[in-house]
């Protein structure tokens, strides 16, 4: 007995649209069962996870702030994944971006007078550092055929340890009792807040603008077309004369730059100093977000907001209902599995074939 996947003839746009919604519903139902088994009312848990965070201005801002780096990184990753390039190292590109931009902030610490150039320079430095760091696996792949999955992943640890070293060593606050962190940045090196309450910062605008830009580039430019063709049919792309090497470098540059920009936006927005860790795993969560959003920038924006919502709702559930953090993580995993599963089912039918395995 074996299972065969048979492609469905034609595409059903309604099914493609409904599938993620149904997957979400199924995940919520399964989560409800888990909550009930833990002895908590599923209705109360649903309210804590999905209603409470949406009913307060502050938590809405927090959702946007949390979703921004995820959306920005995942949008960049979409270019790679669409072209069948597996950049797993966005976390490292994020860290390097934050570090490079942060160095600009620390080098200009205390400058007086005209300081408007500092923040833009930081953002550019972060983006360029992310691009440069992503070029390492890209060039290794193009020149030597090294698997980008391994190199990009391993470079994450290199970046994390580099930041760790810098925050404990050269960039340490000299008046900070040897504790591993830099001095807090000057106001000129911080992204401005958009609303009262010091929560929503301008990094959210950067992320949103990037998603819009990426939508246009992917859908309406030759580069976007190349990315899509190479992903859908590498052979056709070769016949069309598209250079695979050039595309590899370009896609890695886009995703590295996006991750680096997200890194410095996080440092200049939320954190305001350099410390041994600046990311709670955004670069890895963004991989989930990219696929939840089915590699389309608008879908990614929605997926980032959903992941941010469940994370913040999960904190509320921890405080109010004593539901463990593991439940939130399990839910996010189940959601991804269901969305991907539903995706397969909209494109294929499953047929049970009698007989042994081939």
């Amino acid at each position: 007995m074996r299972l065969d996947l048979v492609p469905r003839p034609g595409r059903a746009p309604l099914a493609a649209l409904l599938a993620p919604a149904l997957a979400f519903l199924a995940s919520v139902l399964l989560g409800g069962v888990a909550v009930a088994l833990l002895g908590v009312s599923p209705a109360a848990a649903f309210a804590a996870y999905f209603i409470a965070p949406l009913s307060e201005l502050w938590s809405l801002q927090e959702i946007a702030v949390k979703a921004a780096p995820l959306a920005l990184i995942a949008t960049g990753l979409a270019f790679c994944y669409r072209a069948n390039l597996w950049n797993i190292g966005a976390e490292g590109q994020f860290v390097v971006g934050g570090l490079a931009g942060g160095c600009v902030a620390l080098a200009t610490q205390g400058s007086a007078g005209f300081t408007f150039w500092i923040l833009p320079t930081m953002l550019v430095a972060g983006t360029l550092a992310g691009i440069a760091y992503a070029m390492i696996p890209a060039v290794l792949k193009v020149r030597l055929g090294v698997s980008e999955i391994l190199t990009s992943l391993m470079l994450v640890y290199v970046a994390e340890l580099l930041l760790d070293y810098m925050a404990r060593g050269p960039l340490r606050d000299p008046a900070g009792y040897n504790f591993p962190q830099s001095v807090p940045f000057d106001a000129a090196a911080r992204l401005p807040y958009l609303m009262e309450g010091e929560t929503l910062h301008a990094g959210v605008l950067i992320a949103f603008a990037s998603v819009v830009l990426a939508t246009i580039v992917l859908g309406r430019t030759l580069f976007g077309f190349e990315v899509r063709v190479v992903g859908a049919s590498p052979r056709a792309a070769r016949f069309a004369g598209f250079s695979e090497a050039r595309l590899t470098l370009a896609a890695f540059a886009v995703s590295g730059g996006a991750a680096g920009l997200a890194g410095i936006a996080e440092v200049a927005g939320q954190i305001g100093q350099l410390q041994p860790t600046i990311s709670p795993g955004y670069g890895f969560t963004a991989i989930i977000v990219a696929f939840l959003g089915r590699l389309s920038p608008p879908g990614i924006l929605v997926a980032a907001l959903v992941i941010a919502l469940t994370t913040i709702g999960g904190e509320g559930a921890q405080i109010d209902l004593r539901l463990p953090l593991d439940l939130t993580r399990a839910f996010q995993g189940v959601l991804l599995a269901f969305v991907l599963g539903a995706d397969v089912l909209t494109r294929f039918t499953v047929r049970l074939v009698p007989g042994g395995a081939r």
């Binding site: 340890l161 504790f179 410390q275 904190e315 509320g316 405080i319 953090l325």
Partner: protein, 353 residues
């Protein structure tokens, strides 16, 4: 008519109880690790449970675990917004976020562990863990047959460095030729890495292990190889009944209950607390797996430190580079211990800078 309805409704609500529940002081805790680490966060959570038990009618507790330091501001603000009146942020990395949220919520009281920045509504507290390490150093020097002790260290911050130095000074007071081998694992909690470090140290001739990381893995490795070790943060005897000599236990309960009481009766003020054995913040777990005379020595040392007759950093203390850190007849003042970034003489390791 309307007024009486409102009054009636109000009285009804009062009878129902939510008004009384709101009267309780909500106390929240933010942990950097899982509460099940059986180490640092676990001990902090024990103090939360002790608080809930000590003041069941006047206090309500809650917590957030596994909060990454880079993402802690929202978690702390979430607690402040949920009506929590007293918030314990239990890791050094929560310092700046704690101060920022404290500025936004002046009526909420904050307690930050192991930091050094305070505000009108932010206190700091920590424990003189080095006092316990001095005792452990003496025990290790008495019991080691190879004369070499393995030390698994987390990060080169002053708390850890002063612990290594106190351990060494305690050991040297028994055996001036004792050697301490140090492995830096760059983590507070990673059982796999800690076990690897333990194996490496035992293979290099150490027969006693001590650690400044939070899991019981090194202790279990020592147990497996028939060697001895010290527990960390929590009494980890049950993980290694044949290996654990004692453990430096962080006991925050008395402090946490005292602060909650102060908030309740309105006497809470911002302050810095750095307590040790004398104050009950540092407790040594029962001395096991050692002869009676070593046990007696350890107990005497604990008493002497509590009484103030023995100070781990009593002069003369010489730095590794030969300069005098503390003169004969003096003891190291707190700022020196709080900012310690040098080794004492005899430690054969270079401090990661």
């Amino acid at each position: 008519m309307r007024h009486s309805i409102c009054a009636g409704l109000g009285a009804f609500l009062l009878l129902l109880g939510p008004a009384r529940a709101a009267d309780k002081l909500k106390v929240g805790f933010v942990y950097v690790g899982p509460v099940a680490d059986y180490g640092y966060s676990f001990q902090h959570d024990l103090s939360r449970k002790a608080l809930a038990e000590a003041m069941p009618d006047t206090v309500e507790t809650t917590y957030l675990e596994n909060v990454p330091e880079a993402d802690s501001e929202r978690a702390i603000e979430k607690l402040a917004r949920s009506g929590v009146g007293l918030i314990f942020t239990t890791s050094f990395g929560f310092m700046e976020p704690t101060l920022k949220v404290a500025r936004k919520f002046p009526a909420v009281k904050f307690e930050h562990a192991t930091g050094y920045k305070r505000a009108a509504n932010v206190s700091t507290y920590s424990a003189r863990f080095y006092e316990g390490r001095y005792v452990c150093g003496k025990i290790a020097a008495r019991l080691s047959k190879t004369g070499t002790v393995g030390y698994i260290a987390s990060f080169p911050i002053p708390e850890v460095v002063s612990g290594i130095n106190a351990f060494m000074l305690g050991a040297q007071s028994v055996n001036p030729n004792v050697k301490v081998k140090i492995v830096w694992v760059n983590t507070w909690f990673d059982p796999g890495k800690e076990a690897e470090a333990a194996k490496a140290l035992l293979a290099q001739g150490a027969d006693i292990l001590t650690q400044h990381t939070d899991s019981a893995a090194p202790l279990q490795e020592a147990e497996k190889q028939g060697k001895l070790a010290f527990g960390q943060s929590s009494d980890q005897y049950r993980f290694a009944p044949k290996a654990q000599l004692t453990a430096i236990v962080d006991d925050w309960s008395g402090y946490v209950i005292g602060e909650a009481k102060a908030v309740r009766d309105g006497s809470w003020k911002s302050h810095d607390t750095w307590g040790g054995i004398k104050d009950g913040l540092v407790v040594l777990a029962p001395f096991t797996n050692m002869p009676a005379d070593v046990k007696a020595m350890a107990e005497d040392t604990v008493k002497a430190i509590a009484a103030g007759t023995v100070h781990p950093f009593a002069g003369p203390v010489t730095k590794k580079d030969g300069t005098v850190a503390v003169k004969d007849g003096e003891t190291a003042p707190d700022p020196i211990i709080l900012g310690m970034n040098w080794y004492v003489k005899g430690i054969d390791d270079t401090l990661p800078q």
